[in-house]
Symmetry: C2
Subunit: 496 residues, 2 copies
Amino acid sequence: MATTADFSVSRPCPLSQVPRFDFETDVAIVGFGAAGSCAAIEAAAAGAKVMLFEVSSGSGGAAALSGGEIYVGGGGGSLQQRTAGFEDRTEDFYQYLLMAGGPNADAAKVRLYADHALGHLDWLAAQGVEFKNSYIAERVMEPLTDDCLVWTGSEEAWPFAQAARPAPRGHTARQTGWSAGKYLMDMLAARVNAIGVDVRFDARALALVADEQQRVHGLVVRIDGTARYVRARGVVLCAGGFIMNREMVRRHAPHLLRADNPIGTTDNGSGVCMGMSVGGAAINMSEGFATVPWYPPGSLVKGIFVNERGQRFINEDCYHGRVTQFILEQPGDRIWLLQDQETYAQGLLHETARVEIGAAGDSWEEIEQELQLPEGTLTATVAVYNRHAARGEDPLFHKAQKWLKPLDKPPFVALDCRVDHAHYSAFTLGGLDTLPTGEVLTEERKVIPGLYAAGRTACGLPRWGKGYSSGMSIADSTFFGRQAGRQAARAAPAGG
Amino acid sequence: MATTADFSVSRPCPLSQVPRFDFETDVAIVGFGAAGSCAAIEAAAAGAKVMLFEVSSGSGGAAALSGGEIYVGGGGGSLQQRTAGFEDRTEDFYQYLLMAGGPNADAAKVRLYADHALGHLDWLAAQGVEFKNSYIAERVMEPLTDDCLVWTGSEEAWPFAQAARPAPRGHTARQTGWSAGKYLMDMLAARVNAIGVDVRFDARALALVADEQQRVHGLVVRIDGTARYVRARGVVLCAGGFIMNREMVRRHAPHLLRADNPIGTTDNGSGVCMGMSVGGAAINMSEGFATVPWYPPGSLVKGIFVNERGQRFINEDCYHGRVTQFILEQPGDRIWLLQDQETYAQGLLHETARVEIGAAGDSWEEIEQELQLPEGTLTATVAVYNRHAARGEDPLFHKAQKWLKPLDKPPFVALDCRVDHAHYSAFTLGGLDTLPTGEVLTEERKVIPGLYAAGRTACGLPRWGKGYSSGMSIADSTFFGRQAGRQAARAAPAGG
C-alpha cells in the first residue's frame, strides 16, 4: 500500500495503480482561495457534484491578504465609475488590459474579460460581496474607509494614457480599514458553504491521477495522514502561485527573492507542478509583481527616482508596482527618491515602507557628495529635470504635467529606497498556460483532458510586472475561476 | 493504424499503444549537432548500440553555423593558454563560469566542467579536431586565420575581472576563415560514422514513447512518411533550442524576436516539448543570447553607448553579447555609439552589422540636436564621461582604463545601432532542467527514467544573456552531450 510519501506533485499517479476510489465527484477543486471558491460556485450552479480540497484549515488563500480590489471597467462604466463621472469604454478597458499584459498578453482572455467585467462585478455582488457607490480621487494604496472606487494602476501615466483613455477601475469590497480581501473571501466562502459544496480542509493534494494518455481522472489527497483517492470528471487547480517556494522562485524569477515580503499563504507551486506533471506548459515563469509602497502622500510623485549612477529611470507617476520593476532592474541596490521642501511629506512611506532619509542638504551638490555619487552625476540629472520641469515638460520620461515642478526649494532630501533595506513585497505571475475556459494546455497548446487551472496557478490576465495594477489578480482569479468551474462541470466523463 | 499526424511532440505515445517496435537499440539520440554527435560517440564507446535520428539531411546542426570556438580554461591553462603566457587557474575559470551563468547558474555543472575542461579539449582533439597552438591578442569576433586562442567574453571587464583573474579562453578549431564550426562538426560527424553509429537522416522525432509512470521507453520517428517505433533503454534529446519556433519565442522570450537573425537550423523547440510531455521542467525559458557585432575595430570600445534619453547604460568594454542585452533593455529602439575623430574607425561594423552614421557634427550640442534628443541630455552625459575619463576613471560604469579617453576631438559621430535596423542575431538559452549526467528532471528535480537531454534542448552552462561568452554553448553541448551519452549507455533497462 502506497504511503503518502510515495507521491510527488511533479509525477502523476497512474490510474491503473489506484487501489480504490475513496471519493467520486464530478468536479474536484484544489484550493479554497479566490479562484477555487468561484470555480466551486459555478460548477455547483451548473449542476455538478463538487468537492473542494484545501491544504490549510480555513478559506481565503492569498486573496484574503489583499486589499480586496477588483479591477473592473468597460461597458460605459460601472455604477461607481459613472457616478464619479467616468465613462469607461470597453475598448479603452481592453487596450489598457492588453498593454498591461505585456509582450505576451493573452488577447483571448483580455477580450473575454473586457466584454464581461461589469457583469462579473454584478455576479460578485449577487454572491453577497457589497461594493459602496463611492470614489476616492487621491492617490491611495487602498481605501482605509469603506469606500469603493480608486485609481490602482498606471492609467494616467505614459505610455498607458496614450493608448487608452484613463479611468479609475479598482473596485474595493466594502469594509472599513485595510485588507478588504478578508471580507471578500469570507463572503465567497459563505456562498460556497451555503450551496452545499463538499469542502475538506487540511487536505493536501499529493498528485494527479492520470492514465497513460495523460488524461486526468482525479487526484490523490492526504487527509488525516492517509492517501485518499478522488475520482473526478474534471480537476481544477486553484492552488495559488509559487512565491512561497523559494527554490522555484530562485530557479524561475530570482529577482523576486530580493523582496523581503512574499505575498502568499500556501503558494508553494504545487498546483503548477501538478499541471506540469501531465505535460502542462508553465509560461511567464520569470514574471512577478513586486512593490515598495512609496506613496502616498501623492506629493512624493513630484520627486524623482535616481539609481546609484545618479540617473533617472522612470516616470514617477506610474503605479508603484511598475516603478518597482524598474527599480529592480537598476544596477546595484542603491535607489533614492529625491524631494525638495515643497514636495516632501511624511506618510505611509515612513510607516510601513521602511524608507528613511538617506541624505539631506541645502544643495544638490551636497546631496551628491553625501551619497558618494560620482561628481557631476546627480547634479546633472536634477539640472536637466528642473530645466524641463520649469516649462511643464518631461521629455525624457513623460511624467504628466500635474506632477512636474523644479526641485529647487531647499532643503533637499534623498529618501533611501534600497531594496535590501526597505519593505518590498512580491508574488509570482507565471503559471500554467490555459484557454479562457481554464483548460490546461501543453507547450503546443493542446488541451489536456480533464485538467483545468485558474488563479495564480495559471497564467492569466496579469502577466507582466510592469503592467500590473491592483485588483487585476483577484479580478482574474474570480472571473477565470468561474470559467474553469463551469467548463469542468460540463466536460464529458473522462475516458468517455 | 496511427498516421504521423496523430502524434505530437508535446504528448507522449503510450507504450501500450505501440503496435510494434521497428527498431531496438540501447541508446536513441535525437539530433546530429554538437551534443548529439558527442553523445553518440560516448555511448558507443561505452559499448551501447546507438541509433541517431536527424530531421535534416545532413549533420552539424546550429554548431556548424558557429565560429567553432570552445570555451576552455582552468587547470593552469591549456597548451595554447600557457604558450601565450596565461596561467589559468581552475578557481578563476570556475568563478567566471559561475558568474556568467547568472542568478540561476548551475553550480554542479560549472564545477564538473571547470574541473574537466582541459581533458575535454584533449578528447575533442582525439576525435580529430585540430587546434593550432597560437593566440590572437586583438579584439576579434572569431579568427579569420587558422589561429586558435582568442578573447571571447567579458573576462577583462567589470564586474567579471573583479571576481576572477582574466584569461582568453576561446579555443577555435583550426580552419582558415569564418565559421570553423563547420569544420568542427564535420570532424565529429566523421567520427560518429567511423565507429558505426546507426544514423538515420530525414527522420523526424514525433513523440516519446512512455508508460503510465512516464518512464521513457523509446520514441516514434517519421521516416519516409511513416511512423516508425523505436525501443531504447535511453533516449537522449539533442534537438537544439527553440529560436526557429517563433510562437515559442514570443511566448517565452519575446525580446529575442527583435533580433532579425535567429541563429539556428532545425531549432524548433521539439526537443524541449518532448521533455515537457513527460513532466520535464523547462527552465530559464526567457533567457537568450543576442548580439550586434559592433566591434572590431577595438578602438570603437573607447566610444560610449547612449539610449534615446541620452543616458549611458553599460561599460563598453564588455563582450558584445552582454552589451547587446543591455541595449535590448533600454527604453525605445534608438541606441547610438558615440565616437570622436580619434576613436572612430570603419571595420566589421559597417560591413556586416548594418550600423550606419546617424549624426555627425563638430560639437556634442550639434549631435544632440541632430538626434532630436532633449536639450542638455546627451551633452551632460558626454561632459560627465569626459571629465572622469580625463582622469582615467569611469566611476559610473567601470570601463577599464585602457579604453578611457575623453571624446573631445571633433568631428564627432553617433553610430546608429537601432535594433530594428542593424543586424542583431539571437538564440535561446532556456531548456530542460537536467543533472550534470543529462538526466531530465521534473520541476521538483526528480529524475525521469530513460530520458536525457543536452545541448540547447537542455539548460546548461550558458543560461544568462548578460554572461554569455563565445564558445560556451559548444563547450556545453559537446561536454554535456558526452555525459548524457555515457549515462544513457549505462542506464538499467527501462522497466527493469
